[in-house]
Symmetry: C2
């Protein structure tokens, strides 16, 4: 901590920028490097989410908006850090205080704040935001060990994802934009049954016990962070038909009055709308209405929020071009950018429901927030 | 019947056209006269509706779309015929076979086809459509007598309104566009209670008896005509809150595949939409959502129909400019034409609910149908 920035990617000398083949990207990074040279600071994004929530696809959607390939930090051993030319994604599990063995001794879960080193987290988020490189510990998810630290060199965007990005007030206040992924208990249970019961043969009873055991800490320490978020992606069971355990109702809750964050809207800002597209424009094999898109104004933790939701599924991602066109203020740089980005994740979980659409919009909004704070333009990715 | 056309308004010599002060109108009428000269026939519109359904305001909304003042035929005695430069509105009660005394002898209601002279109706609709003037009988609503006939000279638009415009197949087939106003029994009852019980002190029991007495004939002869309509304005009790007897849910059912008739739509054609505008854009003192606008695709008498509905009320007609802008294919000739036309009927029954909005759109559609058939353009009314 505290050491001057050096070595990697965009923060290196202008010569190092030439390694990229994409000319536009090159220009963009130069712009950013230049603004950093004149006092530009990295923009820091927080993503709070439980494990097993599809964070990895979501993070790739976000980093893809800034161009360049995204890969694990190439340190030649286990790491949780994803890097691309302009982005770094840091997993907050790296700030666990004890390894798996240590937690067995304390008897506490990783959800418990006492098992996390918030002082170090704060110091390192702060240092990175100031443009300084840090030596960050690594929590090895395979072995459950705390491994030798890795060097993190700040990039224009740094994303901190994990269980507690907004738990510690000092860390929370460093976040320029706060996202919470809220998987409702019913959906978590359905997903766990699908994976652990149907695919692995665990009993329903044991699954329930596992969930119940984790619930008190989750409710006490993780869940309340959603009230601090600027934007929440909430995943609920479908409302289209009763007792459907496979289709989802996904809501994007966009708080108003957040700097550089303009909520997207359907047709008419501020209106409550329920929209069922006709099947000949948007095929859907989901039951009932197939796909219902809605918009409403709600309160979220006392703040006014513009909500966009999508219940059900669409069969063909390329037909989402039609849906995309009905939305305004999406953060896209050309007509069809959302659909194009969704097509890149075809086959991923959530790629054919509200998850894919609303994660993509949120990714574009992260880019917009970045542009607003950094006062630079990220070129549209033509790849 | 059969006499060549002469004398009045637009069908007279080009010189007579000069009587109008409105230059644009003058040009339009000349165009029409010219097309009539080369074989142009009047366009015939049918409007089926029970008595006491607000037809009079509706008819004024329609005739206003063609410019010029609309007034009773100036024959110096009781008449039901409304005329303006381009339009004639004929009441089909004029084809009653017997006067009120006569019906007392037969014991039949005016709803009964046997009390209506369909042969004469057919002959006269046909003659007028061929551009010939006719001597039409007059049913005197004040005295219940059949009065001396009046001369009707065809105008470019002739509207036949009343109980049986589509009952007789021959008459129906002459109609270029067919509108049915469908007041549902609950609403009819509520209206009658309001007028006859609350304002005139009749007992609820006597009102029910009156309605019941009329119902068999209405159901047998009037109601089935709605299946032949190209367009239905249906008035139902509000769905916004339970047991509300004052607010209305008004639907415009637009059959597809009708020549020269392109249904209006909200935002996206073919989509099912429910829309509640925010109160700060559209004030509403109605309970619940205040005003809900919806769109859906339904079957109407076996035909595909595009339905637009409006449930509840709006407090300020001028704010409807905002609603108007969300609709496409309204038949308007400039942005704001619907709102402007609605403002002209401020204070009339239905002027602050779906009645006003959907009657106005239907009026504009009548103009559009006319333009399509006659192959002329009616200038927008700037008055």
């Amino acid at each position: 901590m505290g050491t001057p920035l050096a070595s990697r990617s965009s923060f290196a000398s202008p010569v190092a920028l030439r390694v990229t083949n994409d000319k536009e990207m090159d220009v963009a990074i130069q712009q950013i490097s230049m603004s950093l040279a004149s006092g530009q600071k990295p923009v820091v994004i927080g993503l709070a989410a439980d494990s097993g929530c599809g964070k990895s696809t979501f993070m790739r959607r976000v980093t893809a908006c800034f161009g360049g390939a995204c890969k694990l930090n190439p340190i030649g051993r286990e790491t949780n850090t994803l890097i691309s030319d302009m982005t770094t994604v840091i997993c907050l599990d790296d700030y666990h205080l004890n390894d798996r063995q240590g937690r067995k001794k304390t008897g506490l879960t990783a959800l418990d704040p006492r098992e996390n080193n918030f002082d170090l987290m704060y110091e390192q988020v702060k240092a990175l935001k100031e443009g300084k490189k840090v030596m960050k510990p690594i929590y090895n998810h395979v072995n459950g060990t705390l491994d030798e630290a890795e060097e993190i060199t700040p990039t224009p965007i740094i994303i901190f994802e994990g269980l507690h990005p907004f738990y510690d007030k000092r860390v929370e206040e460093l976040m320029d934009f706060k996202i919470y992924v809220d998987i409702t208990p019913e959906v978590k249970f359905n997903w766990k049954v699908q994976r652990d019961h149907e695919e692995r043969g665990h009993s329903i009873e044991s699954i329930k016990q596992q969930i119940e055991a984790r619930k008190p800490d989750f409710d006490a320490y993780i869940d309340p962070q959603k009230n601090k978020a600027d934007c929440v992606i909430q995943v609920l069971p479908t409302n289209l038909v009763a007792n459907d355990k496979t289709h989802l109702n996904v809501k994007l809750i966009q708080c108003k009055g957040v700097d550089h964050y303009a909520p997207t809207y359907l047709w008419d800002e501020g209106s409550d709308i329920e929209w069922v597209p006709p099947r000949n424009k948007l095929a859907s094999s989901a039951p009932g209405a197939g796909l219902k898109i809605y918009q409403k104004t709600e309160k979220w933790a006392g703040k006014d929020a513009a909500v966009i939701g999508m219940d059900g599924k669409y069969d063909k991602i390329d037909e989402m071009m039609y849906v995309e066109k009905q939305f305004a203020s999406t953060g896209s740089k050309f007509v069809g950018e959302i659909t194009k980005k969704m097509l890149e994740y075809e086959g991923q979980p959530g790629s054919n429901d509200g998850t894919g659409f609303l994660q993509t919009i949120t990714a574009l909004k992260v880019r917009e927030v970045y542009e607003g704070i950094a006062k630079v333009k990220v070129p549209a990715q033509a790849n």
